[in-house]
């Protein structure tokens, strides 16, 4: 059976792509964020994953408001990034793992999750930047399966529902007849709000509590409504739902092997976390 080796979490602010394109990783503004990655790369290299299941939200590259799935799973042989409106360089294409994709699709529908299945799918910065941060040479050593959560058009799925989706993903991976080693990734957040008179909202105390909860009390957020979460962490901070799905996929106890929290990159409180599965 497949093994979940751990989970990895990072903010996915588009400006990270600009910093990578301009080679600004060591600039004073960016260094506190990029410094998170050498140790995380050491961890993930040692953990030898074959596949990354990446939980993220699309920002208007693959999905528009004409058809907005609450949960979508990629089942394509290949996934490409594309111009999102800013004309920055695109990363190398990603190779999918169709066997795991279809196993997830079948398992999730059997578990009463009415997901959308995508045999063609563009993946935006929320998918590509975390990959490029882990593997800066962009020679991807893993196959990928995208899982997209609607954090754009309200109503959003509740935190409790996202937790259950993550649990079902985790169980499906562990029931998959394969010797693959799988890392689950959650991208986005933490607190930030781009729009309205409250633009620039950051909530360090909530973010810290959330980061602590990932190890000690991972269902903490599931006891909060979407409105409560948005009030605390902002209209885009609600992307922490992606983290929650990834965290819920972890099969048992976890050990935090890395944590970085830095304010700000762009308008965002940035965070990077790695959790190892303790079998």
């Amino acid at each position: 059976m497949a093994e979940i080796i751990g989970s990895f979490y990072t903010s996915h602010v588009p400006a990270i792509g600009g910093a990578i394109a301009k080679g600004q990783q060591a600039a004073p503004y960016w260094k506190p964020f990029f410094d998170a990655f050498p140790p995380v790369r050491g961890w993930i290299t040692a953990a030898r994953p074959d596949i990354a299941v990446v939980v993220y939200n699309d920002h208007g590259l693959n999905f528009f408001l004409d058809k907005m799935p609450t949960f979508a799973v990629g089942a394509a042989p290949e996934y490409r990034n594309a111009d999102e409106g800013w004309g920055i360089p695109q990363v190398a294409p990603f190779q999918g793992n169709e066997d795991l994709s279809w196993h997830l699709v079948e398992s999730l529908v059997a578990a009463d999750f009415d997901i959308v299945t995508c045999q063609e799918m563009f993946v935006d910065h929320a998918f590509s930047l975390p990959m490029a941060l882990l593997w800066p040479d962009q020679r991807w050593p893993v196959r990928v399966v995208p899982v997209c959560v609607n954090t754009v058009l309200f109503p959003l799925p509740s935190a409790a529902r996202c937790w259950k989706l993550g649990q079902a993903i985790g169980q499906a991976i562990q029931n998959w007849d394969s010797d693959a080693r799988v890392v689950v990734m959650g991208t986005g957040g933490l607190s930030h709000q781009l729009e309205g008179e409250r633009a620039g909202h950051i909530n360090k105390a909530y973010d810290q509590r959330f980061l602590d909860s990932l190890s000690g009390d991972p269902t903490w957020v599931t006891r909060q409504s979407i409105n409560d979460i948005v009030r605390e962490v902002g209209t885009q901070g609600v992307e922490l739902l992606n983290w929650l799905v990834a965290r819920a996929a972890m099969p048992g106890a976890v050990k935090e092997v890395h944590r970085t929290y830095h304010i700000p990159i762009s308008n965002t409180a940035a965070a990077v976390v790695a959790l190892e599965a303790r079998h």
Binding site: P14, L156, G196, H201, N203
Partner: protein, 119 residues
Amino acid sequence: MTTIRQVHDDIPGTMLFDSRAARKGYALNKMCYSFNDKANRDAFVADEAAYCARYGLNAEQRQAIAERDVLKLLAAGGNAYYLAKFAGIFGLDMQDIGAQQTGMSKEAFKAKLVAARDH
């Protein structure tokens, strides 16, 4: 039967992108979504009015586009993620956008972000 709507207006300075904005802003957001393609960005820059007309923007939306006024674009039903593609045409970053909406200088807005470290 009870209807449960996820509509909330109790977060200061915040408009959730719910059914009201989605219905009002569809044409505006569809136009901004088209800016993923450089050819469309170029077509907009070449003739803004014609491009807005092609997507059926109403008078409120056309004025907000012409004024590059983010709060008015939001009030006209715009969604932040699609509006970001519009802002990209002019090379504006999120600190420009934040400063405009909060009535601050860009430097003051950036200082406000940094100050969140100490809260």
